[in-house]
């Protein structure tokens, strides 16, 4: 069966009928849509949240978020804000965005609109990638990375470092910190802490 390329009118129809999920899907998967998105000065947040705009977007507001790739955190991108909402940025960047949000009502409005989309169930490619941990090294790989074992190649090691530092995956960082603690902490210390958590929670369990 032949693949049907949606024309601009179909994308337009999705937007007008507020079928935002399909609208962005079409923009994302079809080159024609991508071209539109690239030439359009709207941000995705504006586009999806501005319900009063019944026209197909041809221009965007001037208070758009940062251009992707701008340095964090003075100009957080949509992805940065999503990660902020998910507590998935390094602590320093989280703190800086918190401060920015207090001082910048426009940024707060952007975050609120982003929340509206998420609550309405709009897919976010990056959020799915992060939530399902699609490129995260497993714990054994992290252990090899930490102990500098030969089980992983230098290029693989370089990728893990990239994932930890440049992508800033907080779950992998937590796993690595845990492995480091296991190496350095006495077994007795961790056993006492676990027992404390067990004792304080076991009485409340719904059996």
């Amino acid at each position: 069966m032949a693949t049907r390329e949606p024309c601009r009118r179909e994308i337009q129809r999705c937007y007008r009928s507020r079928d935002y999920e399909m609208y962005f899907w079409l923009l994302w998967v079809f080159p024609s849509g991508e071209k539109h998105l690239n030439t359009c000065s709207h941000t995705a947040v504006d586009c999806m949240a501005n319900e009063s705009d019944q026209k197909f977007p041809t221009h965007f507001s001037e208070d758009k978020l940062a251009t992707p790739g701008d340095s964090m955190p003075l100009n957080p991108t949509q992805s940065d804000l999503e990660r902020y909402q998910d507590e998935d940025l390094p602590a320093e960047e989280m703190t800086q965005i918190e401060k920015l949000l207090r001082d910048n009502p426009k940024l707060m409005a952007k975050l609120e609109r982003l929340n509206e989309q998420r609550n309405a169930g709009v897919h976010s490619f990056a959020a799915i990638w992060r939530r399902d941990r699609l490129s995260c090294p497993d714990r054994e790989q992290l252990r090899s990375y930490l102990r500098r074992l030969g089980a992983i190649s230098d290029k693989h090691r370089s990728y893990i470092e990239f994932h930890l530092e440049k992508i800033g995956c907080q779950i992998c960082k937590a796993n690595l910190a845990d492995l480091e603690r296991q190496r350095d902490e006495s077994t007795e210390d961790s056993a006492v802490r676990r027992q404390r958590i067990f004792q304080s929670s076991v009485g409340y369990l719904q059996k």
Binding site: W28, M94, E116, N119, A120, D132, I171, A174, V202
Partner: protein
């Protein structure tokens, strides 16, 4: 029996959850971890055992962390749809549920997300097995960090044309994997 299972769960995940919470709330991290395990117990009836348990626990931990930070006044309160500052909204601004929201059920959304996740995962696994780390880094920076092509090229020491090629290739692969009549009939004819 169930006490042993509970103890095992704590032994297995407590350390990594604690490390995660400590980065944000060093003084209350143990309480956050305890709340996380309790939250897991409460949410067990809704837990889909096909989901990764670790990711699920971290998701609960994030919520508990956010609650505590908000309670301490460290995290600004974000207004949710309908003027509420808590709870889960189900409509866009204006208080009127969108037609798309009503039509596209949670179930459908779940199917779509799983299909997308599977499509990305296949490509990521393929690159990892082949040792195509540069391609993976490139796509991850583009889609997860939201970096621009030129910045990715500069950071990875490759040309912008290569970045564009990797991006195009990745999109085509994912697009192709999504062309299934049971998932995205709109893309299939």
């Amino acid at each position: 029996m169930w006490k042993d299972a509970w103890k095992d769960l704590i032994a297995r995940y407590e350390g990594r959850l604690l490390a995660f919470a400590q980065s944000r709330l060093p003084n209350d991290s143990e309480e956050v971890v305890q709340d996380t395990f309790m939250g897991f117990d409460y949410s067990l009836p809704n837990y889909d055992d096909k989901r990764c348990l670790e990711a699920y626990l971290f998701a609960i931990c994030r919520h508990k962390l956010t609650d505590r930070l908000r309670h301490k006044g460290r995290r600004p309160t974000v207004r949710l749809p309908g003027g509420s500052t808590s709870g889960r909204g189900n409509e866009l601004s204006g208080g009127i549920p969108t037609p798309s929201y009503l039509v596209r059920s949670d179930e459908r959304r779940d199917i779509e997300e799983k299909a997308l996740s599977r499509a990305i995962s296949e490509q990521v696994d393929y690159w990892q097995q082949r040792g195509d780390w540069t391609k993976l880094k490139c796509v991850e920076l583009l889609f997860v960090r939201d970096w621009a092509n030129n910045k990715v090229a500069s950071d990875l020491g490759i040309t912008e044309q290569q970045v564009a090629n990797f991006k195009h290739d990745f999109r085509e692969k994912v697009k192709s994997a999504l062309k299934r009549p049971d998932v995205f009939p709109e893309l299939y004819e």
